[in-house]
Symmetry: C2
């Protein structure tokens, strides 16, 4: 269900999020969008990011380095590297098992599961040795 009008600004913002592979912040997005359409307003970026979140097309990631956005809505975790700052995607084939196990143990219903690891990414770990 696509609510609202399909403006060229909204299209552009979604395009840019999909191109950005490294979990951009709002200002990353704004910067990138400005390069293509210099007349776009900051508020428009905020508004459309919120719409895309509501529509379930993107996800919010909260890290130590601030709020970031992810266009990959498949279930996965993140690792924030304390050396280089990058946010790695971590896929776990036992993702569903974790929530199901907790649902049973605690008699709760789980709709969403957010996992953020902090540590050292594979690349930085290699250089350390």
């Amino acid at each position: 269900m696509e609510l609202g009008r399909n403006t060229k600004q909204k299209q552009l913002i979604l395009e840019v999020i999909k191109k950005e592979k490294n979990h951009p912040t709002i200002s990353d997005l704004y910067e990138e969008v400005l390069k293509i359409d210099p007349s776009i307003g900051q508020a428009t970026v905020y508004r459309n990011v919120n719409k895309l979140l509501d529509e379930g097309k993107i996800k919010r990631i909260i890290t130590d380095s601030g709020i970031r956005y992810d266009c990959d809505c498949n279930n996965h975790y993140h690792l924030e590297c304390s050396k280089c700052g990058r946010i790695m995607d971590i896929y776990d084939d036992k993702y569903m098992k974790l929530t199901r196990r907790m649902e049973e143990e605690y008699s709760v219903k789980i709709d969403d599961c957010t996992v953020l690891f902090k540590g050292i990414c594979d690349k930085c770990l290699k250089y350390e040795k």
Copy 2:
């Protein structure tokens, strides 16, 4: 290692956090602390909460309902109930297995793991039926 001076304000704030069982926000804390010492300033609460975080005596929890603090620093997850808003503690005896498995699969080093579930808590689930 206890750096800095042990002021009565700092002692009071830590006491209040430990008494508050339900993951208080900063304003919850400020409100509660004011009842005991009405002369305390808001900045002092912010400052001391940050110090306690640095010292590893409390943890920050980021939820949809804002930033909350937890005096239980043992490894555990949280569930935010979308009905009543409460933050449940979820303990998992396989906590360490999750991080170890991911460390091996991705060749990374994990120092910290934050898990937030969203769903319906046990109490709200009972009422729903």
